[in-house]
Amino acid sequence: MQRAISAAEAAALIPDGASVMFGGFMGVGSPDRVFDAIVARGARGLTIIGNDTAFPGVGVGKLIDAGCVAAAKVSHIGTNPVTQKKMIAGEIAVELIPQGTLAERIRAGGSGLGGVLTPTGVGTVVEKGKRLIEVDGRDYLLELPLLADFALLRAHEADYNCNLTYRLTATNFNPLMAFAGACVIAEPDEIVPVGVIPPDGVRTPGILVHHLIERPR
């Protein structure tokens, strides 16, 4: 077992230009303390990968506000006018990905698949540049795996082995991203002794997690 690190230490691990997956859905289930530390560090040029860009001043929206982000691969930016403004100004390159496809691409990356075939997006602008593959007379898009230099997770409980649990709709993309970051950093609400989380209660095996952020004080 290793010690938990501070949010500032985590932010120092993430270099400018890194690709960063983050849990969260409209800011719910996001690693907020790590986000604050990334802003405090003044990171630049990040590629962020997650469901949405939340709201100005909320969740990953703080990174957008502070100019940390060069590119975003997300399913939705409709609730963050700052993202929209920066996209139109050419400051942030936005790739819009259907939400289910985003989930599958992250899962494919984390589980060693070369891609998945999805019916979602066939016949729309989403198919641009992608291979169409026919199976049993139906067309599918070949969607490719997504991986990232870092995966920043928000968990509910962590034990000393880094086993994680999540809470209700704060779960969202977090368990998928735990497989897809070269360095996985989890920010839990609580840290408990080994054995407090029963084996069947674990949602992310601790072996996937490289660093745990210390408990909020």
Binding site: F25, M26, G27, V28, G29, N51, D52, A54, F55, V74, S75, H76, I77, G78, T79, Q84, M87, V94, L96, P98, Q99, G100, T101, L102, A103, E104, R107, T118, P119, T120, G121, V122, G123, T124, V125, V126, H156, Y166, R167, L168, T169, A170, T171, N172, F173, N174, P175, L176, R203
Partner: protein, 224 residues
Amino acid sequence: MDSKELIARRVALELRDRTLVNLGIGLPTLVARYVPQGISVAFQSENGIIGFGAPPPTGMEDPHLTDAGGGFISALPGAASFDSGVSFALIRGGHLDMTVLGGLQVDVAGHLANWMVPGKLVPGMGGAMDLVVGAKRVIVAMQHAAKGQAKIVASLSLPATSTRRVSLIVTELAVIEPTEEGLLLRERAPGVSVDEIIAQTGAKLLIIGDVPEMPIVVAERDVA
């Protein structure tokens, strides 16, 4: 009764017992208020829960429990929560009986556009493309026209959400069913004439015999 409420009360009649239903953000969310008596519906929110309920009492909001719009919700007894992979496995895998979505345009082929207005508004598709592809029935709940512009059109000027034909369009003026032959005018709103509907529609409507007035759910329930 305002037009949104009318639409929601009509859409609620499409709910079937013991089904799983996803309601889009905005107008579609209202449908949950009008679930008919005797009908038990499980509502899914694509951010990861089946069985959510009305917002909790003041001061009892849980920051880990919101709907897909980020608004506080509650969980009913027997609810189940899950990650986004499972959520879209449910949606895309054909396990969702019905979705109710807002619309920007629907064309004569029943194709929906609801996720962007190029150069103006680019919110992103969120879960809409998966929902339209995967749900067994897709109901579009929208205002019949916007700013004097017809939203039911001969062909889409906005990017399509899917090439799938939606199941039903419900507006404050009419209920329209896209079919192989075209847009079939099924019902008209109380006090609205067929001519008024035609005047506000940008696509040819199929009209067969008398068009009845739309029924609606009268009672309001405190379910979700």
